[in-house]
Symmetry: C2
Subunit: 425 residues, 2 copies
C-alpha cells in the first residue's frame, strides 16, 4: 500500500467517503464490543473454577485455622509459593489483600503520611514528582495524582524507560521521588525491560535519598509468545545499597480471578518493617481462606507456570488476530505504527498525530468501546493525541475480528480527515 | 463473704499463703489457655462452613460475573442484605473488604490526607484529639494513635459514654475531632447506648464543624441474652443537619469467619462520594466472590438473625459460667466489680486499684493468657490499673471453668498482696 500522506486531496476525499459508507453500515449493525480494559475472558476464568470448589480442610500447614483471626503477613505456604515463583525471599514480602493496586495505594499512603523510614512524610514536602514512562498504565498515574504528586512523562523505548532521560531527571532534583515500572510486558506496549535498564534503575544515583521504584510485575508470568525474563531488581538494588528503593508488587488477579485472589508487596527490610507495623493497626489479618485456596489450587510454582501456559494458549490467537489485522490494513500506509508486544495483555498503536481521540469517539459511536485516548499518559493528556491501547483479552475471536475491522474504518476516516486539513490540491 | 479490706494483716497473710499454694498447684498442671482476644470458637465457625462449599453459579443477580473485575462499591444484593439487616439505606454504604478495622483506618487516612469534605486535611493541623470512651477497644485507640491523634479518655456509664463529659470536651475545643463508639454491647463492658446517648451524639453542638462519630456497630446483631436495639444514629444525625458526622462500620467477621468475610462503611452523601472517589483510585473492586457467597449463605436478613441465635446459644453458657464464677468467688469480697454484659463478646471486670497488671502476669505465668492489663485504655495505660477484659468466646466450657478458677486465685493473690501494703496490724 502507499503512504496516505502522499495522496492528493481528491483521493483522500474519495477514501473518506468510501470508509464513511462502510462505517455507517457497520454502525447500523448495532455492535456492542468492549476492548477497553485488560479483563480475562470467561474461558480464561473457567480455567480457575477449581478455586470455587468446596474447601475440604481449612487448616494451614502450621495448623492455623484459616477461618479465624490472625496471621497478618500472609500464610507461610502462600509466601513460599510466590517466593518460588518470583525469586523473592519470603521474608521480604507481605501477602495481603485482593488487589495489588490497593497495596500500591497503601505504600503511597505510608510514604505521604508517615514518610519513608528516616525521612519526612511526603505530605509535608512542597512538591513530589513521580516519573511516568509513557505510554503507561493509567491507574498507576492516578494513584500518584490522587496524592497530589506531579506526574512527569518519560518516553518508553524498546528496552524500557529512556534511562538517559530518567537519570537526567533524578540526578539533581531532590523532589523527584519515584518512577512507575511494569518491567515485564509493559502496559500497554508489551516491552521487556533490558538487563541494563533494570541495573540502571537499581543502581543510578538519585538526588532524593528516599527515591522509590514502584515495580509492578503485573505480567511477571504472563507469557503469550516465547518466555522472557527480567533481571532481579531486588537483588541488584540490595547489592548497590538501595534495598529500600524497590517497592515490588504482584497479584494473582490475572492468574485466576481479578479482585478475587491475592496481592503481594515486597521490599527492603526497613520498608517491610514499617509497613508491617502500620498493617498491624489496620487489620487483624487479610483473608487467609483465599490464600489457602490459592495454594491448594496451584500446588506449587510449576503449577502456576503450567496454568499460565493454558492462558497463553487462549490469548495467543487473539494477539495474532490483532497483529494480522494491523498488518493487513495498515502496512505501508503510514497511518498506524505498532510493535508486536512480547507478552502481557495489550497491543499499543500510534495513529497519525491528532487522530486518537477521534478514532476512539468514532468507534464508540459505532458500539465499540476502546480505552480512552490519552489514558496512557499523565493527566490523560497524550501530547500527540496518537496512542491507543487495544485490550484483546476479553472479547471472543469473532468479536475481536469485528472490532478490528471497525477500528480500521475509524482510523482511515480520522486519518483522511486529518490529512485533508493540509493536503495539496 | 466479708469485704477483704476489713481483714487484719494476719488473715490476709493466711489467705495469701493458701491461694499461693493452690496457684502453684495449678501452675504445675501446665495449662495452656487463651482468653485474650475476641475470637469465635471452632464450633461457632462450624456453623458457617456452608461458605466453604462449592460456589455453583458465579453470576450476581444483575448478571455480573463475580470472578472478573468491577463493581467498586459492592454487589447490589449484598448491600441490600446489610441495608435490610441494619436499617441503613443501600446508597449510604460501601460494601468493601474483609475487615471493618481496615475501613476505619481507610476513613482516618482520608481525613488525615485529604481532609473531611470542605475542610483542611487533619495532617495539616497542629493537633487532633479523639475521644476514647473507657474501658474501650484497644484497636480503635491504636488507629487514632497511628495517625498521631491525641487520645482523650472519657468514662463509660451504663448508658454509654458520659455525655456530660463528652459535651464539655467538644463544645469549645475545635481540635476535638471525633469519638470512638461501640454502641451495642460495647467492648468490653457489653453496654447498650441509651436512646438519649445516641440522640446527644447525633445532635450535640461541637466546636469542630468536621467532628466525626466513629460508630463501630461490631456487635449489632450479637445478642447473647435478650435482644437490645439502639437508636438510628444516621437518621437522627441527618435530621439534625449532621449527616456527615457519622462514620458507620460493620462486618461479618463475627457472623461467620473473622477476616474471611465482608466489611461495610456507611456515612453521609459527601463522605460516601469522597470515599468512593478515592477507592476508585486504589482498587478496581473488592472481592465480589465472598460478597456473593455471603448473600447465598445467609439468604436474607432473617437468615442472619437465625444464624446469630445459634451463635448466641453457644455463647450464652460461656457468659453464664463466667458470671457464675465471679459471683461465687467474689460476691461480697469487694475484690472485683463487674456488671453483667447485655450481649457482645466480653466480660469486663475491675479489680482493686493497682492489681490488674499483677493478675494478668500471674495468670500468664500459670499458662492463661488474658488481654493485657491497660489495653482497654488509651496508650494502654489504665490510670487505676484495675480493668481486665475477659474474652470467653474461644475456649470450651471446660477450659473456661479452669481459667476462671485460676483467675480467681490470681485475683486473690494480687489483692492480698495489695491489701497487705496498708493493712492494719
Amino acid at each position: 500500500m502507499d503512504e496516505w500522506k502522499e495522496f492528493p486531496r481528491g483521493k483522500l476525499a474519495a477514501l473518506l467517503d468510501e470508509n464513511r459508507r462502510a462505517y455507517d453500515e457497520a454502525k447500523r449493525r448495532g455492535l456492542k464490543l468492549d476492548l477497553s480494559r485488560g479483563k480475562p475472558s470467561p474461558d480464561v476464568l473457567d480455567l480457575s473454577n477449581g478455586l470455587l470448589e468446596r474447601l475440604d480442610s481449612y487448616y494451614a500447614e502450621d495448623g492455623t485455622d484459616v477461618r479465624n483471626y490472625g496471621v497478618a503477613a500472609g500464610l507461610p505456604e502462600c509466601k513460599r509459593l510466590f517466593s518460588d515463583l518470583l525469586g523473592i525471599p519470603a521474608d521480604s514480602m507481605i501477602v495481603g489483600g485482593n488487589s495489588s493496586l490497593s497495596h500500591m495505594y497503601q505504600v503511597f499512603s505510608v510514604l505521604y503520611l508517615f514518610g519513608p523510614p528516616g525521612h519526612a512524610p511526603w505530605c509535608k514536602r512542597g512538591k513530589v514528582k513521580i516519573l511516568c514512562p509513557c505510554p503507561g498504565y493509567d491507574r498507576h498515574f492516578s494513584v500518584a495524582e490522587d496524592f497530589g504528586a506531579e506526574l512527569v512523562a518519560v518516553p518508553m523505548t524498546e528496552d524500557g524507560p529512556d534511562m538517559a532521560a530518567v537519570e537526567k531527571l533524578v540526578i539533581d532534583d531532590e523532589s523527584v521521588k519515584g518512577i512507575w515500572c511494569v518491567p515485564l510486558y509493559s502496559n500497554p506496549q508489551g516491552v521487556v525491560y533490558s538487563d541494563e535498564t533494570v541495573m540502571r534503575l537499581a543502581t543510578m544515583k538519585t538526588a532524593a535519598t528516599d527515591f522509590r521504584v514502584f515495580w509492578d510485575n503485573a505480567y511477571g508470568v504472563h507469557h503469550v509468545f516465547e518466555e522472557h525474563k527480567i533481571a532481579d531488581i531486588m537483588k541488584l538494588a540490595s547489592e548497590a545499597g538501595n534495598a529500600e528503593r524497590v517497592c515490588y508488587f504482584f497479584s494473582t488477579s490475572k492468574l485466576n480471578f481479578p479482585g478475587g485472589g491475592v496481592g503481594l508487596f515486597a521490599s527492603g527490610p526497613e520498608n517491610i518493617a514499617q509497613m508491617s507495623a502500620h498493617i498491624s493497626k489496620q487489620t487483624i489479618g487479610y483473608d487467609k481462606i483465599i490464600q489457602l485456596r490459592t495454594v491448594r489450587f496451584f500446588g506449587n510454582a510449576e503449577g502456576i507456570k503450567a496454568h499460565m501456559r493454558k492462558i497463553g494458549d487462549i490469548l495467543r490467537p487473539k494477539f495474532e488476530l490483532v497483529l494480522a489485522a494491523l498488518e493487513r490494513d495498515f502496512a505501508g500506509t503510514g497511518l498506524v505504527k505498532w510493535v508486536k508486544p512480547k507478552g502481557g495483555y495489550f497491543v499499543s498503536i500510534d495513529t497519525l498525530d491528532g487522530c486518537a481521540k477521534r478514532v476512539v469517539a468514532l468507534a464508540k459511536d459505532a458500539g465499540a468501546v476502546l480505552t480512552g485516548a490519552g489514558a496512557t499518559y499523565p493527566y490523560k493528556r497524550d501530547p500527540r493525541d496518537s496512542n491507543i491501547r487495544i485490550a484483546p483479552t476479553y472479547p471472543s475471536l469473532e468479536e475481536l475480528r469485528e472490532t478490528m475491522a471497525l477500528l480500521s474504518l475509524c482510523v482511515r476516516i480520522a486519518s483522511a480527515e486529518k490529512l485533508l486539513e493540509t493536503a495539496r490540491g
